[in-house]
């Protein structure tokens, strides 16, 4: 316990505290010129402390102070009706729904591609280089076009955004699963061979169980990518709902506090999703009989 305290909790807390302090200093430094301007025009002279407080309570600061973001976040998360347009829970739920749908599509697609690559030589030789190349392509640039073109065909709402998430999330899963399905050693494959196991039996009884840790590791990456896809997918729809649209409308009206609160909400959603996938992975491994290392 003391080890954990010394090795992890204290250092992380100290660094986080340092970040918060740096943030306060930064918000003073960045808001001060504007505040000085305001004071001069109003003809107000204030003491240093009053001035510092004022830089941290502007309605549209350049860099909002942490407590302003926290107040805005708490207000919009816990004290608004969930159905209200200003509720962060509402926006987060909209983003979450397309994230989860896209993530589910992406995972299934990634697994299917991986199974194909592992079992068909032609696919391995022809598809694998393209999967690696496609990771070097800024696929996110496609986002606005997918949305607009699908809207022109009459498909709007959840599906186009989910498609972008699918795009981003199937690569990690496919690559991770290929690695996982190939992870059984020659010795294990030979053992299955001596049992006269069919290809299907080798797949279900050896390859699939061996790939589970790889699957969950890549699903963690995929779910984070999927959230990014959903947020970017909300930009070109013209700021209707979701965390991305909250960011966009914030940038239209210079509502910096709202933007930071939306960022915090997005980060919390990301951490929740990644932890959930991690938890699911640990439960699955325990059910399958893995022992803690």
């Amino acid at each position: 316990m003391t080890d954990r305290l010394r090795d992890k909790i204290i250092p992380v807390t100290v660094i986080l505290a340092a970040i918060v302090v740096a943030w306060y200093v930064g918000s003073y430094a960045m808001n001060a010129p504007f505040q000085r301007d305001l004071d001069r025009r109003a003809g107000v002279t204030s003491t240093t402390w009053e001035f510092v407080v004022k830089t941290m309570s502007q309605p549209k600061p350049t860099l909002p102070a942490p407590h302003q973001v926290a107040v805005n976040f708490v207000e919009n998360t816990f004290f608004r009706k969930v159905t209200s347009n200003r509720s962060l829970v509402y926006h987060a739920a909209v983003t979450l729904s397309s994230t989860v749908l896209g993530f589910a599509f992406g995972t299934v697609l990634g697994i299917l591609i991986a199974v194909g690559i592992v079992h068909v030589v032609t696919l391995d030789r022809s598809l694998m280089p393209w999967i690696i190349t496609s990771q070097t392509i800024p696929i996110l640039a496609l986002a606005p076009m997918i949305i607009v073109v699908l809207a022109a065909v009459g498909i709007t709402g959840l599906i186009p955004k989910a498609l972008i998430s699918t795009y981003l999330s199937f690569f990690p899963v496919a690559v991770g699963m290929v690695k996982g399905l190939r992870s059984p050693e020659i010795m294990h494959l030979d053992l299955m061979h001596t049992y006269n196991a069919s290809a299907g039996q080798v797949f279900w009884k050896l390859r699939v169980p061996a790939s589970v840790p790889f699957l969950f590791a890549s699903m963690k990456v995929a779910v984070a990518a999927s959230l990014v896809g959903a947020i970017v997918g909300e930009l070109p729809t013209g700021a209707v709902a979701g965390i991305g649209s909250k960011l966009l409308s914030g940038s239209y009206y210079s509502q910096t506090i709202d933007m930071f609160a939306a960022l915090v909400a997005g980060s919390i959603v990301a951490i929740l999703l990644v932890s959930l996938v991690g938890l699911a992975g640990r439960i699955t491994e325990r059910v399958m009989g893995a022992r803690p290392a």
Partner: protein, 372 residues
């Protein structure tokens, strides 16, 4: 023995498709000369039946290559100008030549190359064929089914568009890649690297930063883009700032992980030489960390492009790839958007490829390079 049983399944399917096409003749109501129709059928039949001859692999590949690409060329040049008039025969014949191409790729994948250059060539040709057929099928389906070009332009039109708007594309690449991406990439990677060395020097800093760094990698950092645009204005510095933030953490986390990669035996050896911290770092631990650092550089090359392009969606001067994409989508000039995406993909692949080449040169000692 039944000759059909000797044929691979792709050839059987190609034959079936040819029979279906015969039933659905003509290929186009007008526009295909009888001679070229006959040639298409002849080539497809040759391609489907050539496995029976048991030719040497090289000869068979050449025949299959001609038999797959000849018909599709004739079909595509026939359909141009008659979009949307294609019937069953057209699609059946496209499918037949695609199946023959599949057969070709299978033959090439199973081939045992006799020399090293041949093996490299084969490793390049197989994925290239796959990419080419993706484009050919896209072209055939879009033109054959008459999908409005405003929704999905065929690759040939996108190619024409690229050729016609080279100056615009060059200006966009100059703005987005040479200004925003490169500036941000170098600053972000350098900052991540420096902080990683600091974190390596001071254990307390490493223990505090690593959990935070790992957590940040899961966050949608791209969301800071509108804030950066507000702070640094519309021109490239705001995009570079987004790129710096996006590339900083992968570099930090990977470098710190890489610096622990050198084995304790080697470190003890350095200690017996009375090497100082910096000597050990420079001569042992940084080279050992090189694969990790290059991994971060490669991840960052993609992230940097995405960051710069998405940041341009929030406001730019009237030039830049993200700006062009968002405005041309609004004007429904979809072919320009695809041209821009093709250029971005090319730039991303070149960026990645150059890094991979440098990596091979720097980490020549690493098993993954030596073994290959």
């Amino acid at each position: 023995m039944n000759p059909i049983a000797l044929l691979p399944w792709q050839s059987v399917a190609a034959l079936l498709a040819a029979i279906v096409a015969l039933a659905g003749l003509p290929i186009l109501p007008d526009g295909m000369a009888p001679a070229s129709t006959a040639l298409v059928f002849l080539l497809v039949l040759t391609g489907a039946l050539v496995p029976l001859l048991r030719l040497p692999t090289a000869t068979e590949s050449f025949v299959l290559f001609a038999a797959a690409h000849g018909p599709v060329y004739l079909l595509l040049s026939g359909i141009t100008g008659h979009e949307g008039q294609a019937g069953l025969a057209f699609f059946a014949l496209v499918a037949a030549s695609w199946l023959i191409a599949w057969r070709l790729v299978t033959v090439l994948s199973l081939a045992r190359p006799t020399s090293r250059p041949m093996g490299t060539l084969l490793r390049l040709v197989v994925p290239t064929l796959f990419g080419v057929w993706l484009l050919l099928l896209w072209e055939a389906i879009v033109r054959g089914a008459g999908i409005p070009f405003i929704l999905l332009p065929p690759p040939s039109l996108i190619g024409v568009r690229i050729a016609n708007s080279l100056p615009i594309l060059a200006a966009d690449v100059q703005q987005t890649i040479f200004k925003s991406v490169f500036a941000g990439y170098f600053m972000g990677c350098a900052a991540g690297f420096s902080v990683a060395i600091l974190a390596d020097r001071f254990v307390f800093l490493r223990r505090g930063l690593m959990p935070i760094g790992n957590m940040v990698s899961a966050l949608p950092i791209i969301g800071v883009a509108p804030i950066m645009v507000m702070w640094f204005g519309f021109d490239w510095p705001s995009k570079a700032a987004v790129v710096v933030i996006m590339t900083f953490f992968p570099m930090l986390v990977n470098t710190v992980a890489g610096l622990t990669a050198a084995g304790s035996m080697e470190r003890d050896l350095m200690r017996t030489y009375a090497a100082g911290y910096w000597q050990t770092l420079w001569k042992l631990r940084l080279p050992a960390a090189a694969p990790f650092i290059f991994n971060a550089l490669k991840i960052n090359s993609t992230l940097a492009l995405i960051g710069a392009i998405v940041a341009e969606f929030f406001g730019t001067p009237v030039v830049g790839m993200g700006f062009r994409i968002s405005t041309e989508v609004g004007r429904m000039n979809v072919d320009m958007v695809w041209a821009e995406i093709a250029v971005a993909a090319l730039a991303g692949s070149i960026f990645y490829g150059v890094l991979a080449l440098i990596e091979r040169a720097v980490t020549f000692w690493h098993p993954s390079v030596r073994g290959g």
